[in-house]
C-alpha cells in the first residue's frame, strides 16, 4: 500500500501541476502545451502503463487489506470504541478510496477515454482538452451540475484519503525519526489541502466563468 501510495502521490504532483496551468488564464494555451507534451511523447505514454498498474495494485491491495482486517474480528463489540484516539478518516480509508475510485471512473470517461480513443496508438492527434474541460463544466444543465458535484466530492474524499495516507505511507516505510515524522505529517496535511482544493477549483472556475 505504501509503495504504490507514494507512487500515486508523485503522480498527483504531476497531474495537479499540469492542470493548474489552466489558471494561467491564457485560453488554455499553457495547459494544452503541457497536455500535448504528456499525450504526444512516447515516454509519458509508456509511463502511463505503469501508472495504471500502480492504481490497480493500490486498489486491489487496499480491498484485500480491508477484507483481511475486517475478518480478524468475527464477533464485534456491543459498544464501539468509536472516535476515541483515532481520526475518522484514518478509519475510513477503504470508504474514501472507494469514493475516489467512483470519481476516477467518471473522470476517465470524461477526459482520458475520449482523448485516447481519438489518438489510438499514435502519438499526437489529441483532442483540445481545455475546450473539453470548458464544455464539461460550463453548462447549467442538471448533468453538468451533478458532474461538478461528483468532482468536488471526489476531491474532498481524495483530500481526506491523503491526509491520513501521506503520513501513514511513510510510517509503513519505516520513518520513525520524530522530527521527520512531525514534518511528514504536516507536509501530508498541506499536500492534502492544496491538491484537493486546486483540483476542486478547476470545475468550479469553469462553471462560474472565471476562466476565458
Amino acid at each position: 500500500m505504501s509503495f504504490t501510495g507514494v507512487f500515486l502521490i508523485l503522480f498527483l504532483i504531476v497531474h495537479v501541476g499540469i492542470n493548474a496551468c489552466i489558471f494561467a488564464n491564457d485560453g488554455g494555451q499553457m495547459f494544452n502545451t503541457a497536455a500535448h507534451f504528456m499525450g504526444a511523447n512516447i515516454v509519458p505514454r509508456i509511463l502511463e502503463v505503469g501508472l495504471f498498474a500502480g492504481f490497480i495494485l493500490h486498489i486491489i491491495q487496499g480491498y484485500m487489506l480491508t477484507v483481511k482486517n475486517k475478518s480478524a474480528r468475527k464477533v464485534s463489540y456491543a459498544i464501539d470504541y468509536g472516535n476515541k484516539g483515532s481520526k475518522w478518516y484514518s478509519r475510513s480509508m477503504a470508504l474514501l478510496g472507494t469514493l475516489v475510485l467512483l470519481f476516477l471512473i467518471l473522470h476517465l470517461s470524461n477526459f482520458w477515454i475520449p482523448n485516447r480513443s481519438s489518438q489510438g496508438f499514435s502519438l499526437g492527434g489529441e483532442i483540445d482538452l481545455y475546450e473539453k474541460m470548458k464544455e464539461t463544466f460550463s453548462g447549467h444543465d442538471i448533468i453538468t451540475i451533478l458532474t461538478i458535484l461528483v468532482y468536488v466530492l471526489g476531491c474532498a474524499a481524495l483530500g481526506y484519503h491523503l491526509a491520513h495516507g501521506f503520513q501513514s505511507a511513510f510510517k509503513t516505510l519505516g520513518v520513525h525519526n520524530k522530527r521527520y515524522q512531525v514534518m511528514l505529517t504536516n507536509i501530508g496535511y498541506g499536500f492534502a489541502v492544496i491538491v484537493s482544493l486546486a483540483f476542486a477549483m478547476m470545475p468550479i472556475s469553469f462553471h462560474f466563468g472565471l476562466l476565458n
Partner: protein, 254 residues
C-alpha cells in the same frame, strides 16, 4: 477527594466456554465505595452470585497493581475503561456515578478466543515472544552491568518500549485487531540495545511471521492503540518495527 457510595447496573458478557455462544446479562450491585477498584467491585458482585448459588463471573487478574497485564476488560467501549494510561485493576469506582449502567465485554479478536465470560486466551502473544523476543547470553560469570556502553537516548527509548505489559488492549482497541503495537514494543526494546544485536534480523522476521500466523489484522496507523495503551507505548515504535522488518528482509542471511 470526596468519598461516596453508589448503586450500579452492570451489563456483563457471560459465555460458558469457547464453543458456546455468549450473551449479555444484567446485574445490580449496591453500596459500592468510590475508593474500590473496578476488580474489587467485581469481587463484590461475584460474592453476591456465589451466595445466591449462581456461577461467578470469570475474569483475568493477577497483580492488581497495574504491572502484570492480566486484567483485560473492555469497559463502556474502551479497553481498561475510561481513564488514560490505566489498567482495569487501577481503574477506581470514582470514575463512575451512582445509577450508571456499565457495559463490560471481553477483548474481541479472532486471535484472542473467549475461554469463559471475560477471560480470553492471549497465548498468541506468548507464541510471538517465543518466536524471537529473547537475547542470547554467554554462560559463565555474569557480565558487569556497565561493560557495554549504551547511548542514553537509546536506553530511554528501549525502556519506554519495554514498559509494554502485553495486556492486549492495543489489539482490543484496533479496528483491524492488529497486534503491531505489542510486537513493535517487543522488537524495539531489543533492537535499540546492543544486547539485541545478534538476533536482530531473525527476531523481527520470525516474530512478524508468527504474528501473521496467529490471525491478527494488519496495521493501518489509525492510532487507536497508542491512545488506549495503559503503558503509553508510542505508535512510532510501529514505524521502527516496519523499518527493522524492511531492512531485515533485504539483508538477512536467510
Amino acid at each position: 477527594m470526596e468519598h461516596y457510595n453508589m448503586n450500579l447496573n452492570l451489563k456483563v458478557w457471560r459465555q460458558k466456554n469457547s464453543k458456546t455462544n455468549g450473551e449479555f446479562k444484567m446485574y445490580r450491585v449496591e453500596n459500592i465505595s468510590s475508593e474500590m477498584s473496578f476488580l474489587e467491585m467485581f469481587d463484590v458482585l461475584n460474592e453476591q452470585l456465589i451466595a445466591a448459588g449462581d456461577e461467578p463471573i470469570a475474569f483475568d487478574h493477577d497483580c492488581r497493581e497495574g504491572i502484570c497485564g492480566m486484567c483485560s476488560m473492555y469497559i463502556n467501549g474502551k479497553p481498561h475503561g475510561p481513564w488514560q494510561a490505566n489498567t482495569t485493576c487501577q481503574l477506581h469506582m470514582r470514575a463512575f456515578k451512582d445509577g450508571d449502567t456499565i457495559v463490560v465485554e471481553p477483548w474481541r479478536a479472532n486471535a484472542f478466543p473467549v475461554i469463559k465470560d471475560l477471560v480470553v486466551d492471549r497465548s498468541a502473544f506468548d507464541r510471538i515472544i517465543q518466536a524471537g523476543g529473547y537475547v542470547s547470553v554467554n554462560t559463565g560469570n555474569a557480565v558487569d552491568g556497565n561493560a557495554i556502553p549504551i547511548n542514553k537516548d537509546n536506553a530511554d527509548a528501549a525502556f519506554a518500549a519495554a514498559m509494554c505489559i502485553g495486556c492486549g488492549a492495543c489489539v482490543a482497541a484496533c479496528k483491524n485487531s492488529s497486534a503491531m503495537l505489542f510486537l513493535s514494543a517487543k522488537v524495539s526494546h531489543l533492537a535499540l540495545l546492543p544486547q539485541g544485536e545478534p538476533e536482530r534480523h531473525s527476531r523481527v522476521l520470525n516474530m512478524v511471521a508468527q504474528m501473521d500466523k496467529e490471525g491478527f489484522g494488519a496495521c493501518t496507523n489509525t492510532g487507536a492503540c497508542e491512545a488506549t495503551c495503559p503503558k503509553e507505548i508510542s505508535i512510532s515504535n510501529i514505524a521502527r518495527l516496519n523499518q527493522e522488518y524492511l531492512s531485515a528482509s533485504l539483508v538477512a542471511e536467510k
